[in-house]
Amino acid sequence: MASGKREKFDNPVVEWIDSRLPVFTLMQKEYGVFPTPKNFNYFWNFGAIAMVMLVTMIITGVVLAMQYTAHADLAFESVQRIMRDVNYGWMLRYLHMNGASFFFIAVYIHIFRGMYYGSYKQPRELLWILGVLIFLLMMATAFLGYTLPWSQMGGWGATVITNLFSAIPGIGDTLVTFLWGGFSVDNPTLKRFFALHFLLPFVIFAVVFLHVWALHITGSNNPLGVEPKTKKDTIPFHPYYTVKDTFGLLVFLMLYVLVSFFLPYIFAHPDHFVEYNPMQTPAHIVPEWYFLPFYAILRAITFDIGIPFTDIVFIEAKLGGVLAMFGAVGVLFILPWLDTHPVRSARFRPLYRLSLIALVAAVFGLGYVGAQAAEGIWVILGQLLTGYYFLFFFVIVPVLSRIEKATPVPESINAAVLEKKKKKA
């Protein structure tokens, strides 16, 4: 951001501003001529898409907050007023509630992209860690927002998730009482959830800024995982990727609009439309779909962990489940140090690729298990898949880092692109 060398702009107004505050030079540098690998595929759209979803969530959220009342007696009613009386209130709410799902869809694909092409590897470790932090903040924000309509599902979801903290030895119960601001999920809980739900997206925005900043220091990874070497390997970000991102974004928005306007309840459960009753738990409590894999991991630990054939228990099942669930996200933070293989892209690592695809299948499987009642075959399946999840990170990835022989990696991006063209011709 140093204003050392600056080229003059033709437009006098732009020039006047830029010579005092070089925002145009900055934009030109970071989004205009910014050298970007020329071989991105459509997976590289999802960062921009996630950014647009974040902004959409913030603006729909701010407008909804102008109408919403964060009070246990009035919250459900105020949401109904938004749906029925506020001009376009129904539209804003559908866009907000389904927007959360589409934000997660974009981010999950974005994370998968990072894992498949090794985008977390040196020198992008910090970029990756900031990304995982964004993911964690998103999960917190989504959970808090789930409570706000004060429905059966929201209120009981809040009860169950806050009760996770009671597993912490010693201070658990005190901590949960503190989180609630009382002895059950009630008005004080709702009000603090609302305040935090309003605040966190702006924290996310700040971390996204750091994430993008880090990206513009290291430059983007690419499907080959080979760093650009010469000018021939890169193209300016604008217009090539601005138009490509816009096109991809529009296709994504079509799906988003399709769901929001024609299937607005596809992600919702009937208990979202019953006002919260602290005296009656609904028959099935399920979190939103984007939490289901983690929910399944939580429920997979049904056994105490200690010394076999004795009564000595180190970790009770309840605490074990909580640790496993948080561990499942936490392990992503250290992924850059678990996978030390010199080749980035899974394209040239057949074994890693296979294990990663198996991991994706396991996560889908866990999502399915998470939606089932915790009994019979689902418990065992959940445990097997949870086992694979951690096996992948703690055994497969470190071992493959040492033993896997990569297939030949192209010398440069340009060489690979020319090669591909030759084959086509």
């Binding site: 020329k38 595929n41 459509y42 997976f43 009613e77 109904q80 749906m83 029925r84 129904w90 539209m91 559908y94 869809i105 694909i109 998968f112 193209i235 217009p239 090539y240 138009v243 490509k244 816009t246 096109f247 529009l250 296709v251 928005l253 079509m254 799906l255 609009v257 399709l258 929001s260 306007f261 024609f262 607005p264 309840y265 596809i266 992600f267 459960h269 009937p270 208990d271 979202h272 439309f273 019953v274 028959a283 099935h284 399920v286 779909w289 289901l292 889908f364 999502g367 399915y368 998470g370 939606a371 089932q372 063209k421």
Partner: protein, 259 residues
């Protein structure tokens, strides 16, 4: 192209998993029988049938409203069913609404106005539960969203009363209903053929009453549906054209790289 295929595949898989998980939630432990009807509001172009809505309102007012509140509805809302302002006023004024306090600090009753909420049959939840043998009659404003199956569920419950099988143990005030989860319901069969007089010559049967009131309750839960679909179609068309143009722009911009 290969990657586009992967993205589509992953998205379909995700949606599939979600829909599947939803279905599996709906299945209860007992044998329940749910009807699956065709409704005019089905599908991306579906709309409400004003005649059915007006008849459904009549069924609600004459039967359901004896026990079930609709506290999120206002009398002004029924203007959307095709009533004019005078008719809405007339219907609202048939109800007595508690208002106040007046200048002397007393609460008083007055005829309803369009800006009043639907009058609830009981003053509060506890009174409603007490008056109904301990079974709270749920508020109906959102019932088709709050029950899996929606309009089909309402119809199935209202037409699902049967003689209890011999091995069933029903307590006093319980009834056998094939559509209810667990088959035991605390609501007495509310409808009977001919009990409501329709003015438009529609059949006065339990099936028709049930259909109409289910239609009405679907509207009450989602009065935004028609506007939502209309705006949705316009938005999708706009985005489709915009995306096509953007695709052409992208091809054009990238074409100079290909040379």
């Amino acid at each position: 192209m290969k990657n586009t295929a992967i993205i589509i595949f992953v998205s379909v898989l995700m949606l599939g998993a979600i829909v599947q998980s939803d279905k599996s939630l709906a299945a209860g432990g007992h044998e329940t029988h749910m009807e699956n009807l065709e409704w005019s509001f089905d599908g991306p172009f579906g709309t409400y049938d004003r005649g059915a809505l007006q008849r459904g309102l009549q069924v609600y007012r004459q039967v359901c409203s004896a026990c079930h509140s609709m506290k999120h509805m206002y009398y002004r809302n029924i203007g959307a069913l095709g009533y004019n302002e005078a008719q809405v006023k007339a219907i609202a004024s048939e109800y007595m609404v508690e208002d106040g306090p007046d200048d002397e600090g007393e609460m008083f009753s007055r005829p309803g106005k369009p800006s009043d909420r639907f009058v609830s049959p009981f003053p509060n939840r506890k009174a409603a539960t007490y008056a109904n043998n301990g079974a709270f009659p749920p508020d109906l404003s959102l019932i088709t969203k709050a029950r899996a199956g929606g309009a089909d569920y309402v119809y199935s419950i209202l037409t699902g009363y049967e003689h209890a099988p011999k091995d069933a143990h029903l307590l006093d005030g319980q009834y056998w209903n094939k559509a209810m989860a667990g088959n035991v319901i605390a609501m007495a069969p509310p409808l009977a053929d001919g009990m409501i007089a329709y003015e438009d010559g529609t059949a006065e049967t339990v099936e028709q009453y049930s259909r109409d009131v289910a239609h009405f309750l679907t509207w009450a839960a989602a009065p935004d549906m028609e506007e939502r679909k209309r705006i949705g179609i316009m938005t999708l068309l706009f985005l489709a054209v915009f995306a096509s143009i953007m695709y052409a722009v992208k091809r054009k911009v990238w074409s100079d790289l290909k040379k």
